[in-house]
């Protein structure tokens, strides 16, 4: 008999609207073993190819089946130093699970849920990998403690380098801390997985803005680093360039989420950083960040939260699970609508004007292009969260004379090497806003190039 894909238990959709508890509850050992048994153990595992960090998925699945749970974790950790995080936030349906053969005729193996199970198992039971590091006496610097920086730091450390990570904010993790909300990624999980990297001997320095506090030049000259990895992410919000965009009550998702996640304004006034939504909240955009913002607004007490998206439901770029969870939580999807103006009184937002769109021909992304109709709708709102993407933060570019970037501000690289010798880059600062796992893949893949560069310049 064919075993159906094991469904992960979820927190009740009504209960969770008033708290920030994690929505997906994770697999039990029994569920994990049952789900693992669905794997066909393909000769050419397409899941591994589809994984940006090429985890040996069939092996860890086999180890789950044979009850070697710790070994399964070791297999996973070899290629992914943040499994509990990635198990939760990866767009698996577009990567490993999207490539899974079982998924062709039925539902793919729940690889993400298994990954998360192993990550959680290791944290809960203090199962640790003892990386035998042979010090080579040379030091490298990593700029940014988000997914790209962490992955690069771990890979360089394993090669024997002394590694120091510089973080601009007061907590480590980058977007994992300021961007992704607790109901999707609990912050203690982030903290614990990062702590394992500290135990690996990686130095973490907070409150240092590279380019301001210390320049790239000073990192080489005053600190003697042999190479530098830039993983500063895509921290600059994209603007709609609409009239009224600077009215009070109009947030960029970065601000809204940073207030709630990093500054913990959901605990206001115990945490003194406030946030304000009002009753009616419009969220512009259809990606993961838009879903996060909408669901966060709901949890903060907003009565009516709606997504404004210029395409249709099938074109939403967000992770499928997040869209479903948002629907369950009562987020309204108002589709084929393109905001054209924010309307307010005395610089305070109270309405948004949207053009009604219709779908035209397919565009380069393979989706049908939204076309303006000349007809408009108005919505009364108390606040609006703009979540239409992020661009690389300009501080490094502005403060580093010879660092070449493209017209979108992305650092130009060849084999991860920037225009400055010894300075490498990867993740969103190179690709533009993408996913946690793609950034980790870049951080990891950059390390052999850095190693080669350093050793050929001895």
């Amino acid at each position: 008999m064919k075993i159906p894909r094991v469904k992960m238990e979820l927190l009740d959709s009504f209960t969770r609207q008033s708290n920030f508890e994690e929505v997906s509850c994770g697999f039990t050992l029994g569920q994990s073993k049952l789900e693992a048994s669905r794997c066909l153990d393909c000769k050419n595992p397409r899941c591994v190819t589809a994984c940006p960090v090429h985890i040996n998925i069939p092996l860890f699945i086999k180890q789950i089946i044979t009850d070697d749970i710790n070994d399964a974790y070791f297999t996973l950790y070899k290629d992914n130093i943040l499994p509990a995080i990635c198990g939760r936030v990866c767009p698996q349906e577009k990567q490993c699970e999207g490539a899974c053969i079982v998924g062709i005729k039925g539902e793919s193996v729940a690889i993400g849920a298994l990954e998360r199970f192993l990550g959680d198992h290791a944290l809960k039971n203090d199962v640790r990998v003892n990386d035998a590091i042979i010090e080579n006496g040379m030091n490298v610097a990593v700029v940014g403690s988000g997914p790209a920086g962490l992955a690069n730091a771990a890979s360089m450390r394993r090669l024997g380098y002394g590694v120091t990570i510089y973080e601009a904010l007061h907590e480590f993790g980058g977007v994992l801390k300021y961007g992704i909300p607790d109901f999707r990624l609990p912050k203690d999980i982030v903290e614990e997985e990062i702590n394992r990297l500290k135990d690996m001997g990686i130095n973490f320095l907070k409150n240092v803005v590279i380019g301001k506090t210390i320049t790239i030049d000073q990192l080489f000259k005053d600190y003697g680093y042999k190479a530098i990895f830039l993983g500063s992410g895509a921290g600059l919000p994209s603007s709609l360039h609409l009239p009224g965009e600077n009215y009070s009550g109009v947030y960029y998702a970065n601000e809204f989420l940073t207030r709630v996640n990093l500054m913990k304004s959901r605990n206001f006034p115990q945490s003194p950083t406030p946030v304000r939504t009002g009753d009616n909240v419009a969220v512009v955009g259809g990606g993961n960040v838009a879903m996060d913002a909408a669901r966060t607004a709901k949890r903060l007490g907003a009565k009516n939260v709606f997504i404004l998206y210029r395409r249709d439901m099938n074109s939403l770029p967000a992770r499928l699970d997040e869209v479903h969870h948002a629907i369950d939580e009562g987020i309204d999807f108002r589709l084929l609508l393109n905001p054209v103006e924010f309307i307010g009184k005395d610089y305070l937002i109270n309405r948004v004007k949207c053009e009604i769109m219709e779908l035209g021909e397919e565009d380069s992304s393979g989706r049908r292009r939204p076309m303006p109709t000349g007809k408009f709708n108005y919505y009364d709102i108390d606040s609006c969260v703009i979540s239409i993407g992020q661009k690389p933060n300009p501080i490094l570019k502005d403060s580093t004379k010879d660092l070449v970037t493209d017209k979108w501000g992305r650092i130009v690289v060849e084999d991860f090497q920037t225009s400055i010798p010894g300075v490498f880059a990867g993740g969103d600062v190179v690709s533009g806003a993408a996913t946690v796992i793609l950034a980790m893949g870049a951080g990891k893949d950059a390390s052999p190039y850095m190693d080669k560069y350093i050793k050929s310049n001895l």
Binding site: H170, Y178, K206, T213, N254, P272, P274
Partner: protein, 274 residues
């Protein structure tokens, strides 16, 4: 953790602190600011760097809201939880022969390093210093060390001219001409100084203090509209030519959390009384 090397009360509402922060001091230039958090839950508070040496930076803050009041409870030898900088663009020190600095209240603090730098470059520097009363005229002795002329204005007439800095400046412009003005103080004051100076073709730099969180261009909270274009005060500023700044919009943005600030202040009072 960052040690408070010394603390001085400038008046009932305003303190000066010297913080041990050699890394921040390293690249500091006039116009730069820092962001600090008093404790583990603390808000991120942006403050201009008033002065710096090899080992430390000086900040001046007005105990206006919850977090600045909390900062005020710390003493010499205590530690500040987080302290990051230097942030922002260094002030644009212009190639001019004469400058008038106009400061309102605690605005005297961010103005200080800029005027000092102008003087260091041999520029004639006059200062109009305004405040509620005599006690609120900050850094007079420090300014006296290098300013060519200092004119004081108080709202209550307890020292110098009785009235606003704009009223005094209007009078001053009848007899004196300047190449450049720098106005730093409350938004309404900066707005009025810019309006006045425009009539005299006197360009005015201002230093804006919108609400900030990260201070590195990430959140966009601090955006300001200048000549219809959006700028982030944290990475594009905080100093801008004042002409074309939409001060009214900025005042609304600055007041957005007034109600919440009030709730926090009540909490602080309750905690202090219990």
């Amino acid at each position: 953790m960052y040690k408070i090397l010394s603390k001085k009360k400038l008046n009932n509402d305003v303190d000066l602190m010297i913080i041990e922060a050699p890394l921040v001091a390293k690249n500091t230039k006039p116009g730069h600011f820092i962001i600090l958090r008093v404790n583990e839950e603390g808000e991120r508070i942006p403050l201009t760097i008033v002065d710096s040496d090899k080992n430390s930076v000086t900040i001046i803050y007005q105990k206006l809201g919850y977090s600045t009041n909390l900062l005020g409870t710390l003493s010499e030898g205590d530690y500040i939880f987080d302290f990051v900088g230097p942030l922002g663009k260094a002030a644009h020190i212009r190639d001019v022969k004469s400058v008038i600095g106009i400061a309102g209240g605690v605005g005297a603090a961010p103005l200080f390093p800029q005027l000092k730098e102008y003087k260091r470059r041999g520029v004639n520097v006059d200062l109009v210093l305004g405040g509620r009363s005599k006690d609120y005229l900050l850094l007079i002795d420090e300014y006296k060390e290098f300013c060519d002329n200092i004119y004081c204005c108080t709202d209550d007439g307890s020292f110098g001219f009785k009235g606003f800095v704009t009223e005094f400046a209007l009078d001053l412009y009848r007899t004196k001409r300047y190449d450049q003005a720098i106005a730093i103080g409350p938004l309404i004051m900066m707005k009025n100084v810019v309006l006045l100076n425009e009539k005299y073709d006197l360009p005015t730099d201002v230093s804006l203090n919108p609400i900030m969180i990260d201070g590195t261009g990430m959140c966009g909270n601090c955006r300001v509209t200048i000549h219809g274009k959006t700028f982030f005060a944290c990475v594009d500023g905080p100093d801008f030519p004042g002409e074309g700044v939409n001060f009214d919009e900025l005042m609304t943005r600055q007041k957005y959390y007034e109600e919440e600030e009030h709730i926090c202040n009540l909490e602080l009072m309750i905690n202090e009384n219990s």
